[in-house]
Amino acid sequence: MSKLLANLVAGLALALILALSVRARVKGRKQGGCGMSCSACAGCPSGQEEDGNEKPAG
């Protein structure tokens, strides 16, 4: 029983990590640039949304 539970917990944790990672990737791709939705690089079309305040308007 404990073996089944350990596998279940590990499996669910992995599934959650993968789901979050896919979500981050999809969100990042929509933002443009290298896909990381930050404003780290000059001139990048991707923008960090802060209070919903920034978006590339061009």
């Binding site: 596998n7 896919v22 443009g32 690089c41 000059a42 001139g43 923008g47 305040n53 978006k55």
Partner: protein, 712 residues
């Protein structure tokens, strides 16, 4: 209440800093001109319904560069309710040229005299009341950087947006004014009164690219041309120059009235003294080389390594991977899940995250260089080098930006007017190592070259050399032949770096790097782990003991022979090169997964030791160069496709990059083998032929066309 306020001003006058202050946004602020290449929108803090538009910096509303067209078209088509004209008060006369055009648009303007703290410090006095009276609009004194006067400025802009329009003052005089007034009379009934002055000037300048120009019939056009021609004859100058001269005359008179200088010719004297050394004809390049070496020496070799060693060896290996494996195995979790977690995700992501400390040190140092104003000088210094090879220094700005990420670097090529120069810049920008390629370089520097700071510095210089060589080769082809674009760049005054700005920029970049590790790198690691952990046995998919019998090994072996002549023909290196196309950091996490932290505990070998066993100094140099120069990541390829706007040119760019990378790596490896070990094979012959071919393409004789060598 819905109000739109546009921020307009000269490049590097502080628009983005002001935009960030007004909106609470966090847009990248660079200490070189041309950071904003597209307009950006944000909502003003504390004012509901007030939208702010950050426009690209322009010197005038003439249609000479894409930024000028974006700014002008926005102002004419969208007609914002007000314009905040940001004026660099330390360069008032030059900035007022744009102001003289903005006040003619019929849109309420508020002039913000920025950097007033510097003006006061220098002892100069600007009479803003006199300026306001002459310009016919409010003039506010601010310091965007120090957040001084910002609230009052926004309040005034909102008031002006809601207030009544006033007629613009006369910025012209004498015959120029007479000519414009004559055209204004022709435009009665055709153009609304608020826009009449601007349109009349544009018609006089024969500027046909203005949005909303009135449609004139044949007779009106003939009368207009006759009028313009008459004034040109009278003043012995072309119409555009007549207007420019009149504006500068007005600005000169206005400055004489409103500005009192404490000292003349003494401004930014410290900057001038530093520039005398830093941009010196002889010393500039050695100083640049030394700065780059120190940059990488500190970030890769000294401070960065201490932190990275701890992250790799202790944090991920001893503190995370080993205990987690023991705990999962103790709980009898399936070997597949243990492998996926420890050998896949932790090994892959950990291999990339291990470089975060080095990257942070690098980003902090780059941030300091930029804040101080040195990076702007680098573009100026490189113009001298580039121009000699038929390239413009303007091409270096995209490359400077590309050292962070190739995507915005490639996009920044938009500021180059000449299409052939722009295309060449798009093709070559990704040769400069971006922050994602740095872990590859740092990994090999650590594994093969004893953590020498020279490796990263040489990789950077190799990128610059590839740009120059490509410039020489491509400029000799018919498609790219011609004079390089002129490069005029304002050098910002040196100032001390602000720690908060530097740290924020470094954290932003570092966080972006971490986010990539958590998304694209993690997903790639999972896929890689699966492909290297499973293989086909008797037609069944089973977990394999040795990844040399895995699916990934089978795929890798198909393409590996392609890289054998370059010195890295093993299937793992072929796989690493191909996964690098998804994201360049993938090269590192591929080795992380394939060599595995998990095996560290078993045989005592770390990734770097395993890498050192697989590579020689020569094959590692070949591998680094190939990954540096070959096709960039998919995101950058997308940017190339967008900016080229042509499948044929995109295809050419990718083919050229791949061919150059292959040729350079083959030549370096094969000729290196010949010189060091005396090895001579058919590949040596091919390398010699390619080296001769490259030299021929660079030095082939050509006729001179507009000062540039061209093929006969």
């Amino acid at each position: 209440m819905s109000v739109t306020i546009a921020l307009a001003g000269n490049p590097n006058s502080g628009k983005t800093t002001l935009f960030n202050q007004l909106t609470g946004a966090n847009q990248y602020v660079g200490n070189w001109p041309g950071v904003t290449i597209e307009k950006k929108e944000g909502r003003a803090r504390g004012y509901s319904g007030v939208t702010l538009q950050d426009l690209p910096g322009v010197y005038s509303l003439s249609p000479y560069t894409p930024e000028e067209i974006i700014t002008r078209d926005y102002l004419l088509r969208e007609r914002p309710d007000a314009i905040i004209n940001l004026v660099d008060a330390t360069n008032l006369e030059r900035n007022l040229y744009l102001t003289s055009q903005l006040i003619e648009l019929g849109i309420p303007v508020v002039v913000a005299l920025n950097m007033m703290d510097l003006v006061k410090k220098s002892g100069d006095v600007i009479d803003s009341a006199a300026l306001s009276q002459a310009l016919g609009c409010p003039v506010m004194e601010i310091s965007a950087l120090r957040n001084q006067g910002i609230e009052d400025l926004l309040k005034q802009a909102v008031q002006s947006a809601q207030g009544a329009r006033t007629a613009p003052p006369n910025t012209l005089s004498g015959p120029a004014l007479q000519a414009v007034m004559d055209i204004e009379r022709m435009l009665e009934g055709l153009v609304e009164p608020a826009m009449r002055r601007f349109m009349a000037i544009k018609l006089f300048e024969r500027d046909r690219r203005v949005a909303g120009l009135p449609a004139l019939d044949e007779a009106q056009r003939a009368a207009l041309e006759q009028l313009i021609h008459g004034f040109e004859e009278q003043l012995e100058d072309d119409s555009e120059s007549i207007i420019t001269a009149a504006r500068y005359e007005w600005i000169g008179e206005l400055s004489a009235r409103a500005v009192r200088r404490a000292r003349t010719g003494q401004r930014h004297s410290l900057s001038d003294r530093i520039d005398r050394v830093v941009t010196n004809r002889v010393l500039a390049l050695p100083i640049f080389g030394l700065v780059m070496f120190l940059l990488y020496y500190i970030s890769v070799t000294t401070v960065g390594t201490l932190l990275t060693d701890f992250t790799n060896d202790t944090l991920f290996s001893e503190w995370i991977a080993s205990p987690l494996r023991a705990a999962m195995e103790g709980a009898q979790v399936s070997p597949v899940l243990v492998g996926l977690t420890v050998d896949g995700i932790i090994s892959g992501v950990g291999a990339v995250l291990g470089f975060v400390p080095q990257m942070l040190v690098l980003f902090i140092l780059l941030g300091i260089l930029e804040e101080v104003g040195y990076l702007a000088r680098v573009a100026f210094i490189m113009d001298r080098v580039f121009r000699r090879f038929g390239l413009s220094g303007k091409s270096f700005i995209p490359m400077l930006i590309g050292s962070g990420c190739s995507v915005p670097g490639i996009m920044a090529s938009r500021t180059i007017e000449q299409e052939r120069d722009r295309r060449m810049t798009i093709i070559t920008t990704s040769f400069i190592p971006c922050s994602a390629k740095m872990p590859i370089i740092a990994m090999f520097a650590g594994a093969i070259y004893g953590n020498s700071g020279w490796v990263a510095a040489l990789a950077y210089l190799a990128g610059v050399a590839a740009v120059v060589v490509s410039g020489v080769i491509l400029k000799k082809t018919r498609r790219f032949m011609g004079d390089p674009a002129p490069f005029v760049m304002e050098l910002p005054a040196y100032h001390l770096p602000r720690p908060a700005n530097v740290l924020r920029a470094a954290w932003e970049r570092g966080w972006s790097f971490i986010k990539r590790a958590g998304s694209v790198i993690l997903l790639s690691s999972v896929a890689l782990w699966f492909l290297q952990a499973f293989g086909l046995e008797d037609g069944r998919l089973v977990m394999v003991e040795d990844n040399n019998t895995s699916i990934l090994a089978a795929i890798g072996r198909l393409v590996a022979p392609l890289f054998a002549p370059l010195g890295f023909g093993g299937w793992k290196h072929a796989v690493a090169t191909f996964t690098g196309l998804i994201a360049k950091e993938n090269v590192v996490n591929t080795y992380g997964v394939l060599y595995g932290f998990a095996e560290v505990a078993e045989d005592g070998l770390e990734i770097w030791s395993r890498l050192a066993a697989d590579f020689t100094g020569l094959s590692a140099a070949s591998f680094i160069l190939f990954n540096l120069l070959c096709v960039p990541c998919f995101a950058a390829v997308g940017a190339i496709k967008r900016e080229m706007n042509s499948a044929r040119w995109t295809g050419f760019a990718l083919t050229y990059q791949s061919a150059l990378a292959y040729a350079v790596s083959l030549v370096i490896y094969q000729l290196g083998l010949l010189l060091t070990a005396g090895t001579f094979t058919p590949w040596t012959v091919l390398a010699l032929v390619l080296a001769a071919g490259l030299l021929y393409l660079m030095f082939r004789p050509g006729r001179r066309l507009n000062g540039i060598a061209a093929p006969v």
